[in-house]
């Protein structure tokens, strides 16, 4: 039986195991939304306030579940509003399929109302993209989009579907099961053998892992390797949650705002074993001064990441779970007493530095993180971007993979609201969003979505009345010229705002008030804003200045 292109889209999404999509209707996707209406008992559509929110929600859904997130938007502005969300997913390797409507094929290329060449626009920020001009190719193109999105190093794929293709009729036979990813590449035995020799000869190994450990499901394997070779571990921002924060070998995030102990340990090591991490400038600092003392073994599923940012002594392409488990079997059991003692010393040194850098104010950022985590159990921890993000990344005692959702590569302020909503839709678990008054201001319209959806959502605003991260740079590097970073004049009352959207909200100044608010929010089955008064002179420390190295680390600002 022939069915419409629009119905083919919905049927293919269901066939691919998609239970929830995020989006916003418009002129060129009316056909598609009609089918979503007719199939509303088989697939849920979450209407957001803005397409950007929908794209972050699909991203949050994917990060929290590991499944492909799906977002739908209309042509033109609907499609361009997705771009930041797609780029966010691209930089953090999140599997996503974005579906956009477009003007009918006969009107393409004529600057028709709400026409944008979204395939051209998104080419640099997608793993691949398609425009489907023949309804006969629609189902298979969508299947290929899912396949590409979840294969190897995951990423977003966009499928642009002109309106007439949605309206055309075509035969459709559903597949029995979702597409399987392209076959993985596995590490070569002789490469692993070389790695073993280097690791066995190392006296001060350091494991640096990234987000690929989460998508590659290799947490246990990495811990086993660290145990066998007696190595400390640190990670990039994207690697957080892969290893429980209380693992005795785990030193935390490294890099620009990473833990002192992990950054110094890396610098003092004689071997860095980089696992599914990409040596971003935020993780390494000045590339010329990086890696002067240690050798590097780099393992990644994406060949293009090997030797891209930092040349390694040994680069191995392959699935991380497989490579690390084979490596662990092959290496010798090691005990590095001097190195372990040095790591312990660094930990103690770090604790002293944190203590000494504390402002002593009632509601300092770490106190906020500590209090929330004290009451939290099994929630999605989501952040926006800025100081609050780094404080959360440094301090939050994350327990298991996929529980920490943050925009790492693109650093997208406004990511959090959508992501928190999407994460709840995917997991059924409460989302806790740590945000700042700057980031929250970017996409707070999504309060409308979380209230409508009844999302259990605790929003912790670290409200310091400034764009704190930029202000911190202005303090340190621009003679305290606080150009356009002071938000005090805004007069936004987040408690009244919560009320206006139909959410709850409270403002807190003390630890006691925060404790009560956190408990109240957890008891409330809806959106709850906790507006925390934070001083504008709280800094994120330590800090490796941009382009600096470990020798330039700042651990105190007085």
């Amino acid at each position: 039986m022939k069915i419409s292109g629009a119905k083919i889209v919905v049927e293919t999404l269901i066939e691919q195991g998609c239970d929830t999509v995020f989006g916003y209707p418009g002129g060129q996707v009316i056909n598609l939304f009609d089918e979503l209406y007719l199939c509303r008992d088989r697939i849920k559509h979450v209407l957001t306030a803005h397409e950007q929110g929908a794209s972050h929600a699909a991203d949050g859904y994917a990060r929290a579940t590991g499944k492909v997130g799906v977002v739908i938007a209309t042509s033109g502005p609907g499609a361009t509003n997705l771009v930041t969300g797609i780029a966010t997913a691209y930089l953090d390797s999140v599997p996503m399929v974005a579906i956009t409507g477009n003007v009918p094929c006969s009107l393409l290329g004529r600057d028709t109302f709400q026409e944008v060449d979204i395939v051209g626009v998104t080419m640099p920020v997608t793993k691949h993209n398609f425009i489907v001009k023949d309804v006969n190719e629609l189902a298979d193109t969508l299947r290929t989009a899912f396949k590409i999105a979840k294969s190897g190093r995951p990423g977003p794929v966009l499928v642009d579907i002109p309106k007439d293709v949605q309206a055309s009729l075509c035969e459709f036979t559903p597949e029995k099961q979702p597409v399987i990813p392209y076959p993985l590449k596995f590490a070569q035995e002789e490469d692993l053998q070389k790695a073993v020799e280097i690791i066995n000869a190392s006296e001060r190994p350091y494991i640096y892992f990234g987000g690929g450990v989460i998508s590659g499901k290799a947490s246990e394997e990495i811990i086993a390797l660290a145990d066998k070779i007696d190595s400390p571990m640190g990670c990039s921002l994207m690697g957080l949650s892969a290893v429980p924060a209380d693992n005795p070998r785990f030193l935390g995030m490294q890099g620009m705002h990473g833990h002192y102990a992990s950054s110094v340990a890396e610098d003092e090591s004689d071997l860095v074993i980089a696992l599914s991490a990409r040596f971003s400038d935020r993780a390494t600092g000045d590339k010329k001064r990086f890696a002067k003392n240690f050798r590097i073994i780099h393992i990644d599923i994406d060949n293009a990441e090997l030797d891209k940012n930092i040349p390694a002594n040994l680069s191995i392409q392959g699935d991380i779970k497989d490579a690390v488990s084979r490596l662990t079997e092959m290496v010798e059991v090691k005990k590095h007493d001097t190195w372990s003692a040095r790591i312990q010393e660094l930990r103690e040194d770090e604790a002293r530095r944190i203590e000494s850098a504390k402002s002593g104010r009632e509601l300092d950022p770490f106190a906020i993180v500590d209090i929330v985590s004290e009451y939290e159990n099994d929630c999605n921890i989501v952040t926006d971007v800025g100081q609050h993000q780094m404080w959360t990344a440094q301090r939050y005692p994350l327990k298991k993979p996929r529980t920490f959702l943050t925009s790492g590569g693109l650093g997208t302020m406004g990511f959090g609201m959508g992501a928190a909503i999407g994460a709840y839709e995917g997991t059924g678990k409460r989302s806790i969003l740590f945000t700042g008054d700057g980031s929250f201001g970017m996409n707070l319209n999504e309060l409308a979505t979380s209230v409508t959806q009844g999302t259990p959502l605790t929003i912790v605003i670290m409200n310091n009345g400034v764009l704190g991260m930029v202000r911190q740079w202005q303090t340190l590097f621009f003679d305290k010229h606080y150009s356009n970073t002071t938000l005090d004049e805004r007069k936004t009352d987040f408690v009244k705002l919560a009320d206006a959207f139909g959410a709850k909200g409270t403002r807190v100044f003390t630890k006691e008030e925060l404790r009560k608010a956190v408990q109240d929010s957890f008891a409330y089955d809806g959106t709850y804003i906790i507006d925390c008064a934070v001083d504008c002179d709280e800094f994120v420390l330590p800090m490796l200045p941009p382009g600096g190295s470990i020798d330039d680390i700042i651990t105190e600002i007085k």
């Binding site: 080419m123 640099p124 793993k127 590409i148 060949n303 293009a304 891209k308």
Partner: protein
Amino acid sequence: MAKQYVIGAIVSNIAGVLSRVSGMFTRRGFNIDSLTVGETESGEFSRITIAFHGDADVKDRIIKQLDKIHDVKAVEVLDSHETVTRELLLIKVKNSPENRQDIMTAVEIFRSKIVDYSPSSLTIELTGEVTKIDAFIELVKPYGIMEMCRTGIVAIERGENCLKA
């Protein structure tokens, strides 16, 4: 050390592929000396030949990034010693009684062809390696080049080695 590399790539013969490939070069800051594209023996695939200058590290990064593009089915650096490279030049030179004979001699020696003749212009077709094309252009420059176009390099490996999807 920057040197010239020539890459051959087999890509799907569909709309947008050239943008994907050339866009990657722009985006990642790699410069292209020349890029040619045309259908292969199979209508399903096109072959792109890209020449660029860079060091070995840049060359490796380009190959890896090209390899990641979904529509790129095979990609390889062509070994300059084992590869035939050719470029086609069409060049229009001023025709005048006093220079005509010299130009004709040059055309003959370079084994090129005059493909159009008018009282005021001569259009010449020349095929060869890049250095030969360069030399010919230098030679006829004094007579007055009115217009010219070069195709950029196409390249194919000697012997039975083939680049296949």
